[in-house]
């Protein structure tokens, strides 16, 4: 293998695939990055067996070949180089990768590319396209609601339902549920439901940050893996096997009280209250009071801590229905409020021990359900 490429391209490529490099692993080669010539480009790949990322960068290939080298080492070396041309030369006998850039030179001993875990090919099944912006927002508003605790693996994933020209993403951790509907740029022929690890989607969101073209999504017929293709980047993710809870029945169909409030005010009041709630599990209490003839309605956000004291904040609200009291884990509120793009949110409640529902005002594609905490009033 013999080629040359630009330092900044190589550096960026290593950064892209770096997130898929295994951190703690029983398979040492997954600490390595695979370098392989691919026609007139250099392909970089890394995998932690749950997800694999490949990235192509422009190169002048003189001799084809492939090798794997320790990812961190290579990436640290490359990032310290000046932004000039990097000459890469593999000596096949010793499996040593020679790197030359300006007046710097390094030799890194590698492991045969044949030993690198094969990255699954994802073809057949369904194939579709989604606009980057829509997908980024959907993932941003859904993925955080997945469980981080692993005792119920399906809940660590995001349920993705492809149906006609609609994609529905849903995540739940047993205490909250987030559901987002977005259009597919290319309809699917067959309704398909898969569970994608939330961690993979978070990585995908990071990779999409500087992308503009629509994302291609392919799910293989066995529903074992999904492929997300971006410009010069491919992410292949294992899918979580199992069946996702039937969440539509968890969304309350009616409410007794509805308060429309400013997202920014609600977020600020909740954050402040959370400071006072931090010695416990972060209980934030809400009292929703309807307005009178002359006075506006309001939502009182409060928290108390034995050690620090307590905090009470009022927010103006448009209240429909009766007075309501409900307590939530403050983190669950700030999590959702900080990802909403709309100016106002509607909070719908039935009683202190039934789930509360948050819906952004002005768009009907997102719904967030939170189970309250049970407290003495």
């Amino acid at each position: 293998m013999k080629l040359s490429c630009l330092q900044e391209n190589l550096d960026r490529g290593l950064n892209v695939v770096g997130r898929a490099v295994a951190v703690r692993t029983t398979l040492p080669i997954t600490n390595n990055v695979l370098l392989a010539t691919d026609k007139s480009r250099l392909k970089l790949s890394a995998t932690n067996l749950e997800m694999a990322i490949s990235c192509w960068i422009g190169a002048k290939v003189e001799e084809e070949g492939a090798i794997t080298v320790p990812a961190r080492l290579l990436s640290e070396f490359i990032s310290s180089l000046p932004s000039e041309k990097v000459d890469i030369n593999l000596s096949p006998q010793t499996k040593t990768l020679g790197l030359k850039c300006a007046r710097f030179e390094a030799r890194i001993s590698g492991v045969d590319a044949k030993d690198f875990p094969p990255i699954p090919r994802v073809e057949g099944g369904i194939a579709t396209k989604v606009e980057v912006e829509a997908l980024r927002q959907a993932i941003g508003q859904v993925a955080f609601a997945a469980a981080t605790e692993e005792s119920r693996p399906v809940l660590t994933g995001v349920d993705a339902e492809f149906d006609g020209d609609t994609l529905t993403l849903a995540a739940a951790d047993g205490f909250r549920l987030a559901v987002y509907k977005l259009p597919l740029a290319q309809a699917v022929s067959q309704k398909t439901e898969v569970i994608i690890p939330a961690r993979t989607l978070a990585e995908l969101n990071r990779l999409m940050a500087d992308q503009e073209e629509a994302v291609e999504i392919t799910v293989n017929p066995e529903k074992g893996q999904a492929l997300f293709r971006l410009k010069d980047i491919e992410l292949v993710s294992q899918l979580i096997q199992g069946s996702f809870p039937n969440y539509s029945q968890l969304i309350p169909k009616k409410f007794n009280t509805k308060a429309v409030i400013s997202v920014a005010d609600f977020l600020r009041a909740t954050k402040t209250a959370s400071i006072f709630a931090r010695d416990g599990s972060g209980i934030v209490r809400l009292v929703v009071a309807p307005g009178g003839e002359m006075t506006p309605g309001k939502v009182t956000v409060s928290a108390r801590s034995e050690e620090i004291g307590d905090d009470v904040g009022d927010i103006d609200a448009m209240v429909e229905g009766e007075e309501a009291k409900i307590a939530f884990n403050g983190k669950y509120l700030t999590d959702v409020l900080s990802v909403l793009h709309e100016a106002q949110v509607a909070l719908e409640t039935t009683n202190p021990s039934s789930p509360g529902v948050l819906k952004p005002v002005g768009s009907d594609n997102y719904i967030h359900v939170v189970m309250p905490m049970f407290v003495q009033w």
Partner: protein, 559 residues
């Protein structure tokens, strides 16, 4: 063999066997007699493990010349008169049995001089009968000499252990009474060697220092017994001077030394969560209560008692000790003169005997109630320990143990105030349990509600969980519940509530190996500073190791 009445000598010897089990029993009876006689100085000399010689000399009231013979008669006593007196015994002796029992199994000499008498009476007894009587010169008080114990009872002699063992039993008896009567000057010599000498200053700490040494004495805290009935006074050791055996627990009822598993349990309970498994506290406890509330006449050696209201005594002891431990106002520190090096700090902390060694190492000295100084976090070691700087040196804090302590106290407090934080489940979760767990869950699922678990039977081995304690909501609470049910079904149920709290705290605490941000570490240390008992985790392991500047100086040879 035809039935016939036993000869009086045989009867006496059988009866004596009950009172006089071993040489230490003789010492106990004689010392009790001296104390009953109001002595302020008691000296005990022992030879050959007590078999060849026991000599107890006191400066008590003495026995008037004309009553000396009576003292040796069975059931002759000056201490109680009628049946009513038996109901309210305030002296240590009351049966009039001890001296006669001893004379049945040994050769006894007594020299005694009562108040106002010019000469002392000397009486010599052999085989339970008076062999000689004469007068002698001595000041007021009594000397009893017991020679050749059990010589006539080879079976009993054979049953005795080594001289060293018998000596240690004797030393224990004298030590116990030295602890119970700090105002009495005790001395004990074993084969001519002084084994114990107390100053008789009236201060319990002085007796403790003589009996247990400076290290323990330096770590004793006083019990502030409220003037209640029963009233509990004495001293207990800080958790860091725990012992591997039960031998450091002394109980006195109205200053009578007694053995009581119930009292031992009360103390052990009070230390719960402060000591590691297998470690036991040091305690010297006197319980004062009206004589009619306690029956001391249930065992031949008077070492066991029965309380009219056992629960009241138990809870008084538990409460008093617990309070003292929570307050932790230590008595002035007695410097232990040893010279540890840093490597021993590490070794000490790894072994279960970390509590034993030099004053500088184990826990930081407790100076006031919530006694953690303000700490400045320096960093994290091995993703498991927080390194912090205090005004008096370096602190290494075990992040998991420290967090467990913080959470344990939080859960305990929330439960006491019925304010456990409960997180509802969006959808009730079925919990499948094993048959053994099922039995446990059936008997406890309602009580688990107190801790925030809303669980209801759902038929068969399935239960429905509707809500969980907020503290564990983002953990594997189902796994935690199963583990809890297992430990409840194996373990001791008397303390199940604590088992629940410990399990919850353990499961929600940060793990070792978890990287923490600076602000997380600062927050944890801040919360630990506010804990009531910051130095140990609920399992009794230490949460921190302290390395003082003095220690650092010493180890770097800067002094």
């Amino acid at each position: 063999m035809p039935i016939k009445a036993l000869a009086p000598q045989v009867v006496a010897r059988i009866a004596a066997g009950e009172v006089v089990e071993r040489p230490a029993s003789v010492v106990k009876e004689l010392v009790e007699n001296s104390l009953d006689a109001g002595a302020t100085q008691i000296s005990v000399e022992v030879g050959g493990g007590g078999v060849s010689l026991i000599k107890v000399t006191d400066n008590g009231a003495g026995i008037p010349s004309e009553e000396v013979e009576l003292a040796f008669e069975r059931y002759a006593t000056s201490k109680i008169g009628d049946l009513d007196d038996l109901e309210s015994i305030s002296s240590l002796g009351f049966r009039g049995e001890a001296l006669s029992s001893i004379t049945a199994v040994a050769q006894v000499d007594m020299t005694t001089c009562a108040d106002g008498e010019k000469v002392a009476t000397h009486l010599g007894l052999e085989d339970g009968a008076i062999a000689s009587r004469s007068t002698k010169g001595r000041s007021q008080g009594t000397t009893v000499t017991v020679l050749n114990l059990f010589r006539k009872i080879p079976a009993r002699l054979k049953f005795l252990k080594s001289i060293a063992t018998e000596n240690s039993h004797i030393a224990n008896v004298v030590s116990q009474y030295a602890l119970a009567f700090p105002e009495v000057k005790f001395s004990l010599s074993l084969d001519g060697r002084v084994a114990l000498r107390t100053p008789g200053s009236g201060k319990l700490l002085d007796s403790v220092a003589e009996v247990y040494g400076a290290e323990i004495a330096g770590n004793m805290i006083e019990l502030k017994g409220e003037a209640t009935i029963p009233r509990v006074t004495g001293m207990v050791g800080l958790p860091r001077v725990s012992r591997s055996g039960w031998g450091y627990l002394s109980f006195f009822i109205n200053r009578r030394w007694v053995n009581s598993r119930m009292l031992a349990r009360a103390v052990e309970e009070a230390y719960h969560g402060l000591l590691m498994v297998g470690r036991h506290p040091v305690a010297v406890i006197d319980i004062l209560l009206p004589a009619q509330d306690v029956d001391v006449n249930i065992h031949p050696t008077k070492s066991e008692v029965k309380f009219a209201n056992e629960r009241a005594v138990f809870s008084a002891v538990y409460r008093t000790v617990r309070q003292a431990l929570a307050g932790q106002t230590p008595v002035p520190h007695v410097e232990a003169a040893n010279k540890p090096v840093f490597s021993s700090v590490v070794r000490e902390s790894a072994s279960p005997t970390y509590v034993g060694a030099g004053a500088d190492l184990s826990f930081p000295p407790l100076t006031s109630a919530a006694a953690l100084p303000v700490l400045r976090v320096l960093g994290q070691l091995d993703n498991s320990y927080i390194i912090a700087e205090g005004p008096d040196g370096l602190y290494l804090i075990d992040q998991h143990a420290a967090h467990e302590r913080v959470l344990f106290e939080r859960i305990e407090r929330q439960r006491a105030q019925r304010e456990i934080e409960v997180q509802g489940l969006l959808e009730p979760m079925p919990l499948e349990v094993s048959p053994r767990q099922e039995a446990e869950l059936w008997s406890h699922y309602q009580e688990l509600a107190e801790f925030g678990f809303a669980i209801e039977p759902f038929g068969g081995k399935t239960f429905l969980v509707r809500a969980v304690p907020a503290i564990v909501h983002d953990r594997d609470w189902a796994g935690m519940l199963r583990e809890l049910l297992d430990s409840l079904s194996e373990g001791d149920k008397s303390n199940w509530a604590e088992t629940v709290i410990i399990t919850m705290a353990c499961h929600s605490a940060v793990r070792a190996g978890q990287a923490l941000t600076d602000s997380e570490m600062r927050e944890l240390v801040r919360q630990l500073e506010q804990a009531a008992t910051p130095h140990t985790c609920p399992h009794g392991r230490p949460t921190m190791i302290h390395l003082s500047y003095g220690q650092l100086k010493k180890d770097f040879g800067r002094t």
